[in-house]
C-alpha cells in the first residue's frame, strides 16, 4: 500500500500551506482524527490554487499533495472527472486494476489503488478530495451540503 510515490508526496508535499482563496472548508475524518483545512481559488472555472493545512497519516497527507499537483491549473470539468475517477478507484475495494486510460487521468494518484483494499484507510485518501468538492461547491455557489451527502 505504501507505494514509493505516496511516500514521496508524504515526505515532500506539494502546495502545502494556506493561501488566499474563494472558500475554505474544514473536514475531519472522525474515525481517525485526520483533519484538513482547504481553500480553493477559482479564476472563472479554472482552478487557480488549492491550498491546505492538515494533520493526518501519510495517506491523507500524500493524497492532498497529489490533489494539489493534479488539479491546480485544470478546468473545473476536467477536475471533476479526475475527482470522480479517483473516487471510483478508491471505492473499488482493490478489485479495479487501473488501465492506461485511468492512468492518463489520475497520473500519480493511481498509486493509491492499493489503498482501496483497506476500508479503514479509504477515508484517509478521500479526505482532501471531499474537502475540495465541498469547497468548490461553496466557491461557485450550489448546495455544498447536498454535495457532501451524495459524496
Amino acid at each position: 500500500m505504501y507505494q514509493e510515490v505516496i511516500l514521496d508526496h508524504y515526505k515532500n508535499p506539494h502546495g502545502r500551506g494556506l493561501r488566499d482563496g474563494d472558500a475554505e472548508v474544514h473536514h475531519v475524518n472522525p474515525t481517525c482524527g485526520d483533519e484538513i483545512t482547504l481553500r480553493v481559488k477559482y479564476d472563472g472555472t479554472t482552478i487557480e490554487d488549492v491550498s491546505y493545512e492538515g494533520q493526518g497519516c501519510s495517506i491523507s497527507q500524500a493524497s492532498a499533495s497529489v490533489l494539489n499537483e493534479l488539479l491546480v491549473g485544470k478546468d473545473l470539468a476536467d477536475a471533476r472527472k479526475i475527482q470522480e475517477t479517483f473516487l471510483e478507484l478508491m471505492q473499488s475495494k482493490g478489485r479495479l486494476e487501473p488501465d492506461d486510460a485511468m492512468e492518463d487521468v489520475l497520473e500519480d494518484a493511481v498509486a493509491f489503488a492499493g489503498v482501496s483494499k483497506y476500508p479503514a484507510r479509504v477515508k484517509c485518501a478521500l479526505l482532501s478530495w471531499m474537502a475540495w468538492k465541498d469547497a468548490t461547491a461553496q466557491a461557485l455557489g450550489g448546495a455544498a451540503d447536498a454535495e457532501r451527502k451524495t459524496a
Binding site: V28, P30, T31, C32, Y118, P119, A120, R121
Partner: protein
C-alpha cells in the same frame, strides 16, 4: 407418514439441526413445538459462529489490522444480507440491536426525544393493539407515562382478529405512531397491514411493525409493507440469541435522535458536546453483537437456500393439518383463528378446564415441548377470559408426525386429569 402438499423435505432439513436428535426423559424423542418462543439453530449457523471466533474475531470499525478489517467486513456483510432479506432500499437502514424488544424500545425512545414533527408529547396519541406482545406494549406505556401522551388500542373480535370497525376513532389526527404486530405470537393471526397503514398515512402517523413472528416464517418486504419501522429478532429465525434488527426509513433515521450513547455511535466527542455518526451507526452504541450478526447472516443464507416462500407453504400446510387434527380433540378450544387462512403456525388452545401448566407438563413427560402461559400477551388472555393457553408452534423442520404426536399426547393429558 402423512403426506401434505407443499411440505419441505424435512428429513434432510432435520439433519442440519443437531438438537432435534436429542432425547429427553429417558429416551423419548424430542418433539419441539415451541418455535414461536425460539427456533433451533442449524449446524451452518453454529459453524459460522465458531469460524468467526476461531479465525476473525476482533473489534469492528476503526481497526487497521487484518483481523479488524475481516471482522468488520463480516459484520457489515451481515448487514447487507439482512437488507437484502427484507428488501430494504438501503443497507444503512438496518440497525442491529440485541433483540426485537430493544428495537421496539428504540423506536419509542427516538420518538419521545424527537423534535417536531415526530415528537410524542402530551398532546399526541399512540396506537397499539390488544394482541401485542408485551415488548410492543410496555415501551409505549412507558413512553405515554413519561410524555403524557395518550395510549389507545384496537380491540379483538371473538375469532381472534383485530377489530378495526372503529379505525377512524382510534387513529386520529393526534396519532403520532401506530405500532402493531404483523403475526401474533399467541393467536397466530396475520394482520391486515394495508388497512391500518392507509389510515395512518391519512393522518400522517408513523407506522412501526413488529415482525418478530413474520420474518422467520414468510417473505418479508419492507418496501411492500410501506411501514416506517420494522422490528424482528434473530433467535426466532435460526439465528443466535443476542441479536435483533430494526429497519427504519433512512430519512427518519437521519432526523431522529440517538437512544443509547457511547463508542461507535459518535462522529466526534469533546467533553462539552458530541456529534453523531450517520445511521445505522448512530443507533449502535458500544461493541455490537458482532458474532451474533455474523450468525444471523448465516441463518439468512440458510433460509434463502430453502426459500422463504417454501417455508411459508410448508408451515401453511402444517397449520391446516394441525387445525384439523386439533379440532378432533374433545374439549379443545383454539384461541385465535380456527382456520389456516391469514394465520401463522402458532396455535394456542385451552383443553377443557385442565390448566395449561398441567397440559404442558404432561406433554413434556412424553417428550413434547410446547409453551404454556400467557406468552407475553396477557391482555389477550384477559380478553378471552382465560388464565393462560397451551401453544404449539411449528417451523421449517416440523412434521405432520409431530402434530400427530401432539394430538396423541393431548389424549393422554385428558385421560390423566379426566
Amino acid at each position: 407418514m402423512t403426506q401434505l402438499p407443499g411440505l419441505l423435505d424435512t428429513e434432510a432439513i432435520r439433519k442440519d439441526f443437531p438438537i432435534l436428535d436429542r432425547q429427553v426423559h429417558d429416551g423419548r424423542k424430542l418433539v419441539y413445538l415451541d418455535n414461536a418462543a425460539t427456533s433451533q439453530k442449524p449446524r451452518q449457523v453454529l459453524d459460522a459462529l465458531s469460524e468467526y471466533y476461531e479465525r476473525y474475531n476482533a473489534n469492528v470499525h476503526r481497526g487497521v489490522h487484518v483481523l479488524a478489517e475481516e471482522a468488520t467486513a463480516l459484520y457489515e456483510g451481515a448487514r447487507d444480507k439482512v437488507a437484502e432479506f427484507i428488501n430494504a432500499p438501503s443497507r444503512d437502514e438496518v440497525i442491529f440491536t440485541k433483540n426485537a424488544s430493544e428495537s421496539l424500545n428504540l423506536v419509542a425512545n427516538m420518538l419521545g426525544w424527537a423534535d417536531e414533527p415526530y415528537r410524542v408529547d402530551h398532546e399526541t396519541e399512540i396506537v397499539i393493539t390488544e394482541m401485542e406482545h408485551h415488548s410492543n406494549i410496555v415501551p409505549w406505556q412507558l413512553l405515554a407515562q413519561r410524555t403524557g401522551a395518550k395510549l389507545k388500542w384496537f380491540g379483538l373480535t371473538d375469532d381472534g382478529r383485530l377489530d378495526l370497525s372503529n379505525i377512524n376513532e382510534v387513529i386520529t389526527e393526534k396519532t403520532k405512531i401506530v405500532s402493531f404486530v404483523l403475526v401474533s405470537n399467541i393467536l397466530g393471526t396475520v394482520n391486515p397491514v394495508e388497512t391500518i397503514i392507509r389510515r395512518a398515512q391519512e393522518v400522517g402517523a408513523l407506522v412501526c411493525i413488529d415482525a418478530s413472528q413474520a420474518a422467520p416464517h414468510m417473505p418479508l418486504d419492507v418496501q411492500a409493507l410501506q411501514a416506517d419501522f420494522v422490528a424482528f429478532t434473530g433467535h426466532k429465525m435460526c439465528g443466535p440469541t443476542g441479536i435483533g434488527v430494526l429497519w427504519g426509513r433512512q430519512e427518519l433515521l437521519e432526523d431522529l435522535p440517538p437512544f443509547l450513547g457511547g463508542g461507535e455511535m459518535i462522529e466526534t466527542v469533546s467533553m462539552h458536546s458530541s456529534t453523531y455518526a450517520p445511521a445505522p451507526h448512530k443507533f449502535e452504541a458500544g461493541t455490537p453483537p458482532i458474532a451474533q450478526a455474523v450468525g444471523l447472516g448465516a441463518a439468512i443464507d440458510y433460509l434463502n437456500a430453502i426459500g422463504m416462500d417454501k417455508v411459508l407453504a410448508h408451515e401453511h400446510a402444517l397449520t391446516e393439518y394441525a387445525v384439523k387434527r386439533l379440532g378432533e380433540v374433545p374439549d379443545l378450544r383454539i384461541i385465535g383463528p380456527t382456520t389456516a387462512e391469514d394465520r401463522g403456525a402458532a396455535i394456542s388452545f385451552t383443553l377443557g378446564d385442565i390448566h395449561p401448566h398441567d397440559v404442558g407438563q404432561v406433554l413434556d413427560e412424553q417428550g413434547i415441548a410446547v409453551r404454556v402461559g400467557h406468552h407475553c400477551a396477557r391482555p389477550v388472555c384477559l380478553r378471552y377470559g382465560i388464565p393462560a393457553t397451551t401453544r404449539a408452534s411449528f417451523y421449517l423442520y416440523s412434521t405432520p408426525a409431530e402434530i400427530d404426536a401432539l394430538v396423541e399426547g393431548l389424549e393422554h393429558v385428558r385421560n390423566f386429569f379426566g
